[in-house]
């Protein structure tokens, strides 16, 4: 099972690849939209890449609840342990 920090690091790499945000800026308290400037289409790309990377399903209905990096990491942790 990946640790919170491992998930954050991998997720940061994805956000960097998709949106060009420096990986170090992708911290748990950061909002995707307000802090990291990840637009809605990029968010879809991040979600699909995260599903592949972490081998989880992130339903479309759930995406709107993932406001911060921490929300996403917590969802992935829960989905992996389910």
């Amino acid at each position: 099972m990946a640790s919170t920090e491992e998930i954050r690091t991998d997720l940061a790499e994805i956000v960097n690849e998709v949106a060009g945000v420096p990986a170090d800026d992708v911290q748990l308290d950061k909002s995707f939209v307000d802090d990291l400037d990840v637009d809605s289409l990029s968010m879809v790309e991040v979600v699909v890449a995260a599903e592949e990377k972490f081998d989880v399903k992130i339903p479309d209905d759930e995406v709107k609840n993932l406001k911060t990096v921490g929300d996403a990491v917590a969802f992935i942790e829960r989905a992996q342990s389910a």
């Binding site: 998709v18 949106a19 060009g20 289409l41 879809v44 790309e45 699909v48 599903e51």
Partner: protein, 428 residues
């Protein structure tokens, strides 16, 4: 009174150079941009040669910007930003376009964004994005189709992204007429300025379809050269041994501007776009009319609209793709359009070096014509070892000087569908 339209900026990325200057020097020197493809997918094809750009767009564009554009959009943006910077508009005044893409441009500078337009053509559009996403759909499922697929593959994507980069808020258009598209983009831009719908228009075309499917399709049409063992000699317009065109990729953008607007800001002017002639063959979907009548009418119409006599035409950059039928039909058309004046015209076929850039061809070749008039130098036509007897015209096989004085030049572009576009340019 009709507004005069001039060229104040040039930008290109081609199989012979990553910008206008390197492209022009290569064309003068007679350098071929054709080579054997190293892609694995090319191995089963009957044609394994192509003219790919010398500078990968990923080396020029910022990574995140590049991944949001189809390759055709990447090439177009590179050419447009070069042309915009070259026009001097980029650094004048402060950016007036809050919608401009970050890092892509300074905004419309000292020109009102509502007076800036785009006419960036493409023959095929974002086909590499389309095919890559279809592969993802088939092999990985619908969820893997990119949310950016539509804005990347739509044919107007390149024009729209250029508009975003410079803050263009007049019309943003994408004419589509196969291999005549790039010239049609320039013709449309001239109309936009003459009709007072814009003062500045970024005009030209882009194409990036060196990919297995288009190459297999053109191969099935028997349209491509199969001279795989001698790539640099494969594109040989008007030569007796020509056996089809060589597919190329690239983009060319010209900044066209109302003459009084250019004068008011003290812009450098390369040449005047004097007029355009656009006709249709209504003969066949793929074959040229063997009499060349549609092409003849396009050239005559361009001269008429430009108020030019055939005797003032010093140079023609021909469409001349290196196909058996097309090259002869065009030669007959030039003879018919200009009559005895055709004897004094120096022709060139820069496709002998760049290959056929389809929707970008007319744009890159218009840049070559503009520079030919500006520098009074005609670029070479390479591989013309034995001129076809049916072609009774003077073709520059080496760089050739043009005389002093007022000169005009034509650029011809013809496309599948029977589209004919002739553009007339004049020295300033």
């Amino acid at each position: 009174m009709t507004r005069t339209v001039v060229v104040t900026g040039l930008g290109a990325t081609t199989p012979v150079g990553g910008d206008v200057d390197s492209t022009w020097q290569a064309l003068l020197a007679g350098t071929s941009g054709v080579d054997r493809m190293t892609h694995e997918w090319a191995q089963p094809l009957t044609t394994q040669i192509a003219a790919e750009v010398t500078v990968e767009p990923g080396e020029v564009l910022e990574r995140v910007k590049a991944r949001r554009l189809d390759r055709s959009g990447q090439l177009a943006l590179i050419a447009a930003l070069e042309a915009w910077a070259d026009s001097g508009l980029a650094h004048a005044g402060d950016g007036a376009s809050e919608g401009a893409s970050e890092g892509a441009g300074e905004g419309a500078g000292d020109v009102d964004p509502e007076r800036v337009g785009v006419a960036c053509a493409s023959g095929i559009g974002g086909i590499q994005t389309l095919l890559a996403n279809y592969d993802a759909l088939v092999h990985k499922g619908p969820r893997r189709v990119s949310p950016l697929a539509i804005p990347m593959l739509m044919p107007n994507s390149a024009a729209a992204n250029i508009g975003l980069a410079v803050g263009a808020r007049a019309g943003v258009h994408t004419p589509v007429s196969a291999c005549a598209s790039g010239s049609e983009g320039i013709a449309l831009a001239v109309d936009m300025i003459r009709l007072n719908r814009a003062d500045v228009v970024l005009a030209g075309g882009t194409e990036a379809c060196v990919h297995a499917l288009p190459m297999a399709a053109f191969g099935s049409m028997m349209a491509l050269s199969r001279r795989n063992d001698d790539p640099q000699a494969a594109s040989r317009p008007w030569d007796v041994d020509r056996d089809g065109f060589v597919l190329g990729e690239g983009a060319g953008i010209l900044v066209l501007e109302a003459a009084e607007h250019a004068r008011a800001r003290g812009a450098r002017v390369y040449a005047e776009v004097a007029g355009a002639g656009i006709t249709a063959d209504s003969h066949d979907i793929a074959q040229p009319d063997p009499t060349g009548m549609g092409a003849t009418r396009a050239m005559r119409r361009a001269l008429e609209e430009s108020d030019l006599e055939p005797s003032s035409v010093a140079h023609i950059n021909a469409h001349a793709t290196s196909t058996p039928q097309g090259d002869v039909a065009e030669a007959l058309a030039i003879r018919a359009a200009l009559g005895a004046a055709a004897d004094r015209v120096v022709l060139t076929a820069t496709k002998s070096m760049t290959g056929h850039l389809l929707g970008a061809a007319g744009a890159v070749e218009s840049i070559a014509v503009v520079l030919a008039l500006h520098n009074r130098l005609v670029p070479a036509t390479i591989n013309l070892d034995q001129q076809d007897e049916a072609v009774d015209l003077d073709i520059a096989t080496k760089q050739r000087d043009l005389p002093a004085g007022d000169l005009a030049a034509l650029n011809n572009s013809f496309g599948f569908g029977g589209h004919n576009v002739a553009l007339a340019f004049r020295t300033v």
